[in-house]
Amino acid sequence: MKKYLVIFFVNIVLVLFQNSFLFVFLGGEANPNLILAFAFSLLLLDKSEEALFSAFVGGLLIDLLGFTMSGLSSLVFLLAIYIGLFIKKYLFKSWVLQLIVLMLSTYLGKQYLGSHPEFGTFRLLSGLLLTAGMVFAFYPLNKYLFTRLFVSRKFLEIERI
């Protein structure tokens, strides 16, 4: 339960950061999709259940704080995670393919949910690459959370309190 709470709060921070701070700095096209990047980094750690939860919560928060129909972003993000899962399970277990799926999902997400960017612009490509890059930033964080914090005695003690 605790780890889902942590994922939930991390998603709140990421949504706020993505929709406020980074949006002002980078604009709609170059803005990375931190929610999907976080979910895919969980997927790379083989935490598929947590990745689905993260994509669902993150998408829902984006919808609730924005003007898209509630549940639409969640659905799109969940589909992206399921595609990633499918590729990983039945086709190719490379993380490169996961990043490609992530970038494509981000592009489609931007195209149909938000800013309708032109294909192939430098700003859009930099935004997609930034999203892929963020996976590597989140990966060590998630690795720490799942291999150290969530399994340590200290964390369990906190849980008991």
């Binding site: 706020l16 700095f25 609730l64 129909m69 509630s70 549940g71 639409l72």
Partner: protein, 259 residues
Amino acid sequence: MRYILISLFILILGFFELTNPVKSAVAWVFTPFQFGLKQIADSSIETMKFFGSLNKVRQNNLFLLEKTAELESKIVELKNTEEENRALREQLEIENTFERNLLLANIMGNAQDLTGSTFVLDRGSSHGVKAGDNVIRRNYLVGIVREVSAQRSLADYVTSPSSSIAVVDLDEPSRTEGLAEGQYGSSIVMKRVLPNENIGVGDMIVTSGKDGVYLPGLIIGKVTRIVEVPTEPLKSAYLETIIDLTKLSKVFILTSPAL
């Protein structure tokens, strides 16, 4: 799969705008945070822009300083040329009766001479300057070259105590003669004037050429005061240079024509 189903359920609720109260509540909670983050981002951008423009302003400032220095250098160059032109024009107006060549030279001062009675010229033996060459401006005597190196020469001002010039009163019909000696500054004393010879205040004193050092006809100065001591047999007269020697920057050296 349950997340997909929940999402679809929320989507249906959203389609019928049933999620609006939740949306409002979430917006109410998170709007201050969003607004705060936006403000931080805005102020960060402004700060970055400020520092970005600061660098640009600095670059512009450096460029302008460089340009100013360049222009100032050009102004100095032009002033020098102007001064040179003026000196040449003045000198051309005066008929050259000295049978010597006129060599334009710049006065560079002499930092080692604290009395100010000597000056350095930027012309030397490689330009044909020799010790003893007279230094003039128009037809005023400025001094005489004492030492010569290849590129420079050291000259005594006419007001130098070491200069001794045979002079004559141009305004007296009797052509009163004497010996002019420098007294530092702009003052010169005309000594050895015979008691029976006339000399008046305001008289123009020029070189006589009898000393064989200075060319004849060069203006030394005007008489400002006459001193007659009863116990001394000879009279003296104080002279003042007409031109301010210390303010001269361009002069002409009367060099001997090449043989």
